[in-house]
């Protein structure tokens, strides 16, 4: 392993601009003649717009325009879409309600836009926005997903009965029922997977510029996938033809899924910019983000596990209500279906599984993928069932898991996924050692002497990422393919630029991708540049989410490098006057096999472009190759997290005294970056388990509407983490990478709740397990639901 090759903890190239404050995030971009947008938003969760009067607003100083939903409809701008078709059990397609970028008839969640003010300055736009008079007829709102389908519940969208988007299922209902009937032990749990607000620290922003002379539009946007944004906005929203739209996602300050989706604001900025013939910039205020960023999770589940007398799992079944909010966001339908139900086997050999999911509308913000997207929900169900079963049956939690781990691969689960490689015993064993589980009983006794309850919780998770084989997801309803692209450009001077369809918003691709190229071509790490995020530079890509940039993005680079190497060998053959088949390439040098005749990388690169050693008929000049890589399978990172907590009996406060994570990510390109991803994922998982929860009151007001009321994890809420790795390479991509971006967030919540319930001796505890919730549970009371 070289100092800058695969497996090296190379320090990041991108850091210089971030530590010196010279990054370029969307709000940092300024265009000449720029105007600022301020949205007028509904204060009601559900209402008819009776009238809208912008006359006073239009007269305010600095106002360039005030635009409404009616204006948008008149200009025939199309609606936002969900791009993944899900069918119900009875074959009917999901019920996608119209989602215009600015509401004109009814508003369906607090924060739903009803108008936009374009002003010379932000202050002027905001002042004018306050003068827009909207007369609402407030309608009864639906807020609780568990009550959205009840008889008598208000129907939010026309023609969508019982607010039901789809009723989906997966697995074998009959076989599962039979297994439950024959079971020695059945564990039952009612689980709420609490709703979360992603809250990347950079708020969403869009800056749109219409070029009058060329009829061309440019959008700077906080996007994880600029090409997908370009495609949706041009082809589906109908803003402008695809070739007339450039989307640039510059430095983006975190995404976690929330910046995948195509939102109303970028659509409105583009449309407004063409109307007013000037650039239009919008940046969310944080409280605006709370109301309009896609939220995550929000499942209500009844789950059951059937076991025999020895603790062997016979079957699992789950019935889930998934809240998708007021409108279907871009990938929303897939999260509680094919990203959830398909992981209900966990690491276990479960013969029968049946899962039913009803997705419902409520008058809340749209819900879509957030770090883990369906897999944290699945893991929480499985790992709580397993841990509780162990307790109820008097079997050690680690032992119950061992009795059920899948041992041979490939393993076909009953829920579509075929796990290709893994060793769950290895990660459990290593985690037990690192966590010193043997010494836990002693630590627990010590803690009890000081009025603290210690608990231990396991989470042996598996997930499916490296999203995804296009044909497979297409057959499941995806409207797009999930391949990735790479164009490797060798310059005449031998430096290399890689244009990747992946996007880095914290993942360090400028470093890790360069490590791969540098090692493969034997050229200095400094001579490799990674280009991403601009649809004018990278022809097409599917973006970064679903832990796919290693498994899919880097595989595309490998394939392109294969082509580059093949062509470079041809050039070298002409230079060295040898047969192409006799050329070997190693460590940046081309050699004629069995001789000492060689050519250095730099010379070969130059010759490819000077083209003096061969004719055009023999070989095209240039050295630049593209690959579109379509994965052959998902990848299956898996591991064991062990959480040790101390609960204060008097206050219910939980301290995490130890966190152990042993993960199998296959091949690791940069262990420093991988550990960072694990840390960040665990932090978000702990946030979900202990601190976070988006709460709407009965009238649909977002009570947790700012960082004052929504508890973001801070440094003092978290421990340092003990992170280890095991490795079984993924057999389904050239580098053997599984991916690591979401694993921490997937594993962590179950580990925390398993630990606290172990400490306090009751399972009656919901997330977030705040001090109040834990204290109440300790008193034997049911945890009070947030108002």
């Amino acid at each position: 392993m070289s100092a800058t090759g695969i497996g090296a903890a190379v320090r990041r190239k991108e850091d210089f601009r971030f530590i010196t404050g010279s990054g370029q995030y969307t709000d940092d971009v300024v265009r000449p003649g720029e105007t600022r947008a301020a949205f007028v938003r509904s204060p009601h969760a559900r209402a008819k717009i009776k009238s809208l009067d912008a006359s006073a607003a239009k007269k305010m100083p600095g106002v360039v325009a005030v635009l409404t939903g009616a204006d948008l409809a008149n200009d025939k701008i199309g609606n936002l879409i969900c791009g993944w078709m899900i069918h119900s059990k009875d074959g009917t397609p999901m019920k996608m309600a119209p989602h215009p970028a600015i509401a004109s008839g009814t508003v369906n969640h607090v924060g739903d836009a009803v108008a936009v003010v374009i002003g010379e300055t932000l202050a002027q736009a905001r002042d004018a926005a306050e003068k827009v008079k909207v007369d609402y007829e407030v309608l009864p709102a639906v807020v609780d997903p568990a009550k959205a389908q009840a008889a008598g519940a208000p129907q939010i969208h026309a023609d969508i009965a019982k607010n039901t988007i789809y009723q989906w299922h997966l697995g074998d209902a009959k076989a599962t029922a039979a297994a439950f009937a024959a079971a020695k032990h059945v564990t039952k749990l009612d689980i709420i997977n609490n709703r979360l607000v992603p809250n990347a620290i950079e708020p969403r922003a869009a800056l749109a510029e219409y070029d009058v002379g060329t009829d061309h539009m440019t959008l700077w946007n906080t996007s994880q996938n600029p090409h997908v944004a370009r495609l949706v906005i041009s082809a589906f929203v109908g803003m402008t033809p695809e070739h007339k739209l450039r989307v640039i996602a510059p430095d983006v300050g975190g995404g976690f899924g929330s910046k995948i989706f195509i939102y109303p604001e970028e659509v409105v900025c583009l449309w407004a910019s063409r109307k007013v013939r000037r650039p239009v910039k919008w940046t969310a205020e944080r409280s605006e983000s709370f109301l309009t960023d896609a939220h995550g999770r929000d499942h209500v589940t009844h789950a059951e596990l059937a076991l025999d007398g020895q603790g062997k799992i016979l079957a699992l079944r789950a019935k889930t209500i998934a809240n998708l909010g007021a409108y279907m966001s871009t990938f929303s339908s897939s999260v509680p279906t094919y990203l959830y139900g398909t992981l209900l086997s966990g690491q276990y050999d479960i013969p029968s599984i049946y899962c039913e999911v009803d997705a419902v509308y409520t008058n809340t913000a749209p819900v879509d993928a957030y770090r883990g997207a369906g897999r944290p929900e699945a893991t929480f169900v499985v790992e709580r069932l397993v841990e509780v079963s162990a307790r109820q049956m008097g079997i050690e939690p680690a032992e119950l898991r061992r009795r059920n781990f899948i041992k041979t691969f490939p393993h076909q689960t009953p829920v579509i996924m075929a796990y290709d490689a893994g060793d769950y015993h290895a990660s459990l064993k290593k985690a037990l050692e690192i966590a010193d589980v043997k010494g836990f009983a002693k630590r627990k006794r010590e803690a009890a002497r000081h009025g603290k309850l210690r608990g231990l919780g396991f989470s042996t998770y598996i997930e499916a990422c490296g999203i995804a084989p296009s044909q497979a997801v297409g057959s499941l309803g995806a409207g797009v393919g999930l391949w990735e692209s790479a164009e490797v450009r060798v310059n005449p001077t031998g430096s290399v630029e890689v244009l990747t369809g992946s996007h880095s918003h914290g993942q360090g691709h400028e470093t890790t991708f360069a490590q791969l190229v540098s090692e493969r071509l034997g050229i200095p790490f400094e001579n490799v540049s990674i280009v991403h995020g601009d649809t004018d530079k990278v022809q097409f890509g599917m973006g970064t989410y679903g832990s796919r940039s290693g498994a899919v993005g880097m595989s595309a680079i490998v394939k392109a490098l294969d082509k580059v190497e093949a062509k470079a060998k041809k050039v070298a053959a002409f230079m060295l006057e040898a047969a192409e088949g006799d050329i070997e390439f190693k460590d940046g040098k081309f050699t004629v096999a069995g001789t000492d005749k060689s050519a250095a990388w730099g010379d070969v690169a130059l010759n490819a472009y000077i083209a003096h050693k061969f004719t055009g008929a023999e070989l095209e000049p240039g050295l630049k190759e593209t690959s579109f890589y379509d994965p052959t399978n998902f990848t299956f990172p898996a591991g064991c997290h062990i959480c040790e907590v101390e609960v204060d009996i008097d206050t219910g406060k939980t301290e995490i005294v130890n966190w152990t994570a042993v993960d199998d990510f296959g091949t690791v390109i940069n262990p420093m970056i991988v550990e960072g991803q694990v840390h960040g994922g665990i932090a978000q998982g702990i946030g979900q388990a202990l601190l976070e929860g988006a709460v709407y009151d009965k009238s649909g007001q977002l009570v947790t509407g700012s960082m004052m009321d929504y508890t973001m994890p801070r440094a003092h809420d978290l421990p340092s983490f003990h992170v280890g790795l095991t490795e079984t390479k993924s057999p389904s991509n050239p580098l053997g990478i599984k991916g690591c971006g979401e694993a921490g967030a997937i594993a962590a919540p179950a580990a925390v709740i398993n630990a606290i319930t172990d400490a306090i001796g009751t399972e009656n505890l919901a997330m977030p397990a705040t001090a109040n919730a834990v204290w109440s549970a300790l008193q034997g009371a049911k945890p009070r639901q947030a108002a």
């Binding site: 850091d15 530590i19 010196t20 709000d27 202050a123 430095d251 840390h679 440094a715 978290l718």
Partner: protein
């Protein structure tokens, strides 16, 4: 519109601002110093931390006019004029104390203030407690804590000047 004058990163500056203009807006929009970031609207996240007369302050919670005559240091003012990075900046890079970089300028400026108040030998508990006003969503803080401890130590060794007043 009233005028305001202050010194930013050693340079005297002047601008016309509305009374309600925040310091962070003045820095970002009038002075085009976009290294200081806005991450929230309730003074929680700390992405906007700068030094005002040597003390860490949230520039989203100060009016520009309140800073009349003040000496401001932003992230852009930390590196040496010749380009050498401040040891705290180096420590963040060396210890992978950042991922997306958005909270980073505020983190670094806050870290320097921790050193000012608590010295160069910082333990994990102290750093975690003192970061109450800085939120990171990417790193889980593990490496930020390491970076700050390392940066604090390096500042003692190098006999480094404090951030320019």
């Amino acid at each position: 519109m009233p005028a305001v004058s202050m010194t930013v990163n050693g340079k005297a500056v002047t601008g016309d601002v509305e009374a309600r203009t925040l310091l962070v807006q003045f820095l970002r929009e009038n002075l085009r110093l976009t290294g200081t970031h806005v991450g929230c609207d309730t003074s929680q996240c700390g992405a906007c931390v700068v030094h005002v007369d040597g003390i860490a302050s949230k520039s989203c919670t100060l009016l520009a006019l309140q800073c009349e005559g003040a000496k401001i240091t932003t992230i852009e003012g930390l590196a040496e004029p010749g380009g050498a990075l401040h040891p705290m900046q180096e420590a963040f890079r060396e210890n992978h104390g950042l991922q997306c970089g958005y909270c980073t300028p505020g983190m670094i400026m806050a870290a320097l203030d921790i050193v000012r108040r608590r010295g160069n030998d910082l333990d994990e508990h102290t750093i975690r407690e003192q970061l109450d006003g800085n939120i990171c969503r990417c790193t889980g803080y593990h490496n930020i804590v390491k970076a700050i401890a390392a940066g604090a130590k390096a500042m003692a060794k190098g006999g480094t000047r404090q951030a320019a007043e």
